[in-house]
């Protein structure tokens, strides 16, 4: 029979994304069997993250310094502001290595049905950031879903009134994609966005 501490560890591990009670038990056992190589480094890493990682007040990214490294990096183009839904999307764009501008993390999307309104998402901070003189273009890198595009349209309406150029990511055939496997919506978006070869 497990002790309360081990049961608690299993419960907490089981709440992590992709895991359940069974995986929680497996991980707890692995940690307890390899204390020096797994448990202690994991404890140190968790403590460090808990104590040092903060949300950047400028862009909403997570980092150990404030403002974050992306906001203070002089080599990045401060004229390009990319708006993303959450930190996971920011990391996805950074993995690509193509974008060298600055970011703004919205923290969610507008949802008429779930009652998420512009004031719930801190749009005012985004508008203030976009109104800075250094910003030349705002790129809306939001999901190609109804909620993502509704959010993009609301932001675009406001920023266009401010006279800021607003662009969004293209939609269409992915690299390596075969037409036969694409859904109807993606194919029609690709046809609408066709360009000269």
């Amino acid at each position: 029979m497990s002790t309360n501490e081990i049961e608690h560890l299993i419960t907490v591990l089981g709440r992590l994304p992709g895991l359940g009670p069974r995986s929680g038990r497996r991980i707890a056992l692995a940690l307890l069997r390899r204390r020096t190589t797994l448990l202690d480094p994991l404890r140190d890493a968790l403590t460090a993250v808990s104590e040092r990682v903060v949300e950047c007040p400028l862009c909403g990214n997570l980092d150990t310094c404030t403002p974050c490294r992306l906001c203070t990096d002089e080599r990045r183009d401060a004229g390009l502001l990319c708006v993303v839904r959450d930190v996971a999307d920011l990391w996805a764009l950074e993995r690509g290595g193509e974008f060298r501008g600055r970011y703004f993390v919205l923290g969610g999307l507008l949802s008429a049905l779930d009652g998420v309104r512009p004031e719930d998402l801190g749009f005012e901070r985004l508008y203030a950031r976009a109104a800075e003189e250094t910003v030349r273009e705002v790129i809306l890198a939001l999901p190609a879903t109804v909620e993502g595009q509704t959010t993009a349209h609301v932001i675009a309406d406001h920023l266009e009134a401010l006279g800021r150029p607003v662009t969004s990511l293209a939609q269409g055939v992915p690299v390596g994609g075969e037409l036969d496997y694409l859904d109807d919506g993606t194919l029609s978006a690709a046809l609408r966005a066709r360009r000269p070869v």
């Binding site: 008429a112 609301v154 919506g185």
Partner: protein
Amino acid sequence: MNDLTDTGIVLAASPHGEHAALVTLFTRSTGLYTGYVPGGQSRKIRGFLQLGTFVNARWRTRIEGRMGTLELEPLPGIPSPLLADRTRLAGTASMLSLVRQFLAERDPFPGLHDATAATLENLLQARTDTMTWAADVARWECLLLAETGFGLDTHRCALTGTREELAWISPHTGRAASRAAGQPWSDRLLPLPPFLLSTTLPSSPGELLQGFRLSGHFLARIETHTASGARSPLPSARTRFLCRLSTELGAV
């Protein structure tokens, strides 16, 4: 075992656990329905779990009254929401948020379902011009009022009984009045735009927006409540839609 097959319109989808989703549909035979979709967060399924998508749904449950499991497949040949068109997307969101707010779960509204499907199909066809589909949406809002028991009485004038030249609606009773009989109270009555009584197009953007003001007045009077018991205002999606529509038609 309860087993139902029907066509539906996706109203909402939210993640449930790691892989599944809870999906709310507006179906023809059973009205609003929420079901558990195994694998609802997979790439294959989540692509079409978007507001306004038309699906074939098979709902199964072993015990009556339980949520049940949904198997969904998108209906071919029906356009997906026009994500790049601001006004059409806002119109879709407005209609479906009104459905979600005003209809009770598992209460069938086959007439309203058919009208919703027809209006959405028309709205999502890129070649339909804005005045045409927006007039359909205004008529659909009046139908929503009628189906929920708050319909406007536009059969005859409440004052004279005539069926000709109906031009006003009482903001209190929802009954129509003819142009001449209602004239002395015109400052207290709501204008009834002629396009709401026929299939003709509104003569101007102003007349179209008058139709939305009329339906909005009566929709706002229906009391609906949030989960916490507070009174729900009209959905913000409707306000955004009317704002977009006014901008597009140059009526601001």
